[in-house]
Subunit: 480 residues, 2 copies
């Protein structure tokens, strides 16, 4: 409790180190004992719980229901889809012993659940009446990580994975889009206050086994991209491998069309990197586990009673409020700690202000202070929370705009992408030069990748074939 | 959709088979592809989500916060506590390969998380100010099962596990009791409508590494016991092994006192077996994902509109209501299906009743039907739900009373426990006969075990030593 929050490495000096400092000092996560694993500490987990509840609500509104499938998958299941096993086999964790002896067939810990879920879909789906089948699960998955980074890439992570089956390709395409926009983009923009670019992945970045991958890409504080959520059209690939066949209205047998989609604990990392500053986290009010902390400055002049009453009044209006009455710790230390944790509003209640009939409302986003009459404090905190939610979104939008450069050559794109996003015609990146190297490969030399493909109006590209649509634009960036 | 719900094996003929029939026909679960694993289907998972939310709310009210620890544990962690590793090693799943190569040290998939969590508690706890530390996690765990039974014993299962550290033994004892009564017993009795016996485990049934295990035991429909939740006092065993040391108020170094406690997806099995009847599930309204289904009998005479309006009116009063407008399926089939799924109230809306200005309210618990004026329907459904919640609890209480026999000899206990619980002095079971066999061992020959120890007034026994308290009573039964 008495550990000094201390000073963070400034973002401008070393962004990755700033990120690590925040994780440690705000007590969000610790390294696990097995390489690449992570302990999510209570405050970090509280952020994840709020993410879960907002995403889960939207998934249910999109008509999907939750279920749970085993995490142990026979290796043979993965091997059914060639691209899929090729994509995942270097990352698998394999269980060879169980119940005190060697297993007859080793099993893998799920890296994702397309194979096991589709094995059951094949049993559950018989008729067009069984479609669409819209299932989601919240689960842990394992992908062995050689270069782990907490929340962003860990060997074990938590996520939701949706898996659906539809009667027609059109239905599957529409549902993958619905999840991308109505679940993921809506949550990221309106709750996390992160203005994502929603687009289509180029073939090189597609999910193994998918015919089309859609993505939401956010810009972090250092200008790099974070892939925050993906929604895939699987075509009939898994349906063919697992025999998901239904009888249509005319009595004919058809393979189902499928989607899969997910967001993970990586979103906690995105939240930190999108809004954090040199004082620590800045949590958007819509997401914050604690929206307002009422800080008792000193326990004199009835201040403790007023602080408790104010917190009750805030809670009565639906604000997630807490009292900090730890007056045995210095006020300065506590203020720094709440700033570090990114609580959107701090209300300082002290005997001196109270004597004037006021309390001080401090906004975490811009540090502004406002002396509010005690009688107005609840309303003023509510106003401040709404203002902070907009301000954080505006700020992120302004950054995305300012740091996205329109460029006309691959070389300019590689340079611009060192400090933000670059936008250029996708056709330039598919062209092959005299050395047989495509523009996409050229970017890779500078650690730049194509994040997604858009139409000129910013909507999701319908194709990645420049021969079909020469106007498709690419967003390129360095990425986490 | 058109599969016939069909007829269940009567409970009286074969209870285990009835249980299996319900799992299949109510679409609660399927066997997983790896031995002992289970797919929790959407309706089964909806029950688990409701259990999770009720238990989680009570855990938070008891002051604990959620976190997440890695599922991969170095084997060496388990080996630190001798009894603990001895208890769990036959059940471990071992990962030997990760990231495409053999691991230097194999890791186990957590069978429970005392070891890994206490490794971190040792880092986080320094001073008495850091105590109590009250942490919970919702997670999957693996214990290799040779005789799996869905929801009751599966190789992988879902649970919550709480882990706490306290400054004194008294604090730890009190907290283990608080979880037993205020979290587990309260949820089981008031939400699940299962009147559990809360008591102390005999030494033979203690958690490996604990100094005292407390339990909630429910009586199932066949008179057998189900251990529904446990709360353990760990003493200082894990604190010593992992070095959880704090500086007390006087500057002295002390080992922390600890507890751990959990409930799992087994509760779904308990719910099925405690209330189910020959027509299927009967879900207590407080737990039911769907409390009332408005069944459109035929789409004539404006019935569809009335059904939709009624469901909206029910939802407006906070009732979880759904409309069944699948009029292309027979009404009889649909009624049977809703009975199978145990939805507490069915409201039948048909043109004939509507012409009279009424709808029919059917209670799942006793099958009673009530013609209610349309204007009163919402209130009458609310009344029915309250009545069903009480009726199911009363019925389970009556069964527990009727099928608990007071007996005076071990032989009588063994016999009575074939069809229910038996209660007898604990001292009789600790006595050793001429063959060197204790009463407890004698019971084991008839597959009967000591479920828990109580004081004569029914409260939790303070000791399992008859020399300290000769009045302690034992509840014995066959158990799942």
């Amino acid at each position: 409790m008495a550990k000094k929050p201390g000073v963070l490495t400034p973002q401008a000096d070393d962004f990755p180190r700033w990120y690590q400092d925040v994780l440690n000092k705000a007590e969000l996560a610790d390294n696990g004992p097995v390489r690449g694993t992570m302990v999510i500490r209570p405050y970090g987990y509280a952020l994840w719980e709020r993410i879960q509840s907002g995403v889960d609500e939207r998934i249910k509104s999109a008509g999907a229901v939750n279920a749970y499938f085993p995490m142990f998958i026979p290796l043979s299941f993965l091997e059914k889809e060639a691209e899929h096993v090729e994509g995942f086999s270097p990352e698998l964790a394999v269980v060879t012993h169980g119940g005190g002896k060697e297993l007859e067939e080793p099993v893998v810990v799920r890296p994702t659940s397309e194979t096991i879920i589709n094995h059951y879909f094949a049993k559950w789906i018989q008729s067009y009446r069984d479609l669409p089948l819209l299932v989601n699960q919240w689960a842990n998955v394992v992908r062995w990580e050689l270069r782990p980074r907490m929340f962003l890439r860990t060997t074990e992570f938590l996520w939701q994975e949706g898996h659906t089956a539809h009667a027609t390709q059109g239905d599957a395409t529409a549902y993958a889009r619905q999840i991308l926009h109505d679940v993921y983009e809506d949550f990221m923009v309106n709750v996390m206050a992160v203005p994502v670019v929603a687009g289509r992945k180029p073939p090189s970045e597609r999910f193994p086994g998918a015919i089309n991958s859609l993505t939401c890409e956010g810009m972090m504080g250092d200008g790099k991209a974070l892939q925050m959520g993906t929604s895939h059209e699987l075509g009939q690939n898994f349906a063919r491998m697992f025999g998901i066949v239904f009888t249509d209205e005319h009595g004919a047998q058809q393979h189902a069309w499928q989607t899969s989609w997910g967001v993970s604990t990586r979103l906690v990392g995105g939240l930190i990197m999108a809004h954090g500053d040199d004082r620590g986290l800045r949590i958007p009010p819509a997401l914050a586990p604690v929206q307002a902390v009422v800080v008792l400055v000193r326990d004199e002049g009835g201040a403790a009673g007023e602080a408790a009453r104010l917190a009750d009044a805030l809670r009565d209006t639906g604000i997630r409020a807490e009292v900090d009455a730890r007056v045995d710790q210095s006020f300065g230390w506590r203020s720094t700690d709440w700033e570090l944790k990114g609580v959107p509003v701090r209300v300082e209640v002290g005997p001196r202000d109270l004597a004037e009939g006021t309390v001080t409302i401090v906004r975490r986003d811009d540090g502004s202070k406002d002396a509010a009459p005690l009688a107005d404090a609840t309303a003023r905190v509510g106003d401040a929370l709404a203002a902070i939610q907009s301000a954080l979104l505006d700020e992120s939008r302004a950054r995305l705009r300012a740091r996205t450069a329109d460029v006309a050559t691959v070389a300019d794109a590689a340079e611009a992408a060192q400090s933000g996003f670059a936008r250029l015609p996708w056709a330039l990146l598919t062209e092959v030069d005299g050395d047989g190297q495509s523009g996409e490969q050229r970017l890779a030399q500078d650690s730049v990748s194509v994040r997604c493909l858009l139409r000129p109006d910013g909507s999701v590209a319908e194709t990645d074939d420049p021969a079909v649509d020469a106007d498709v634009m690419a967003i390129v960036a360095r990425a986490y």
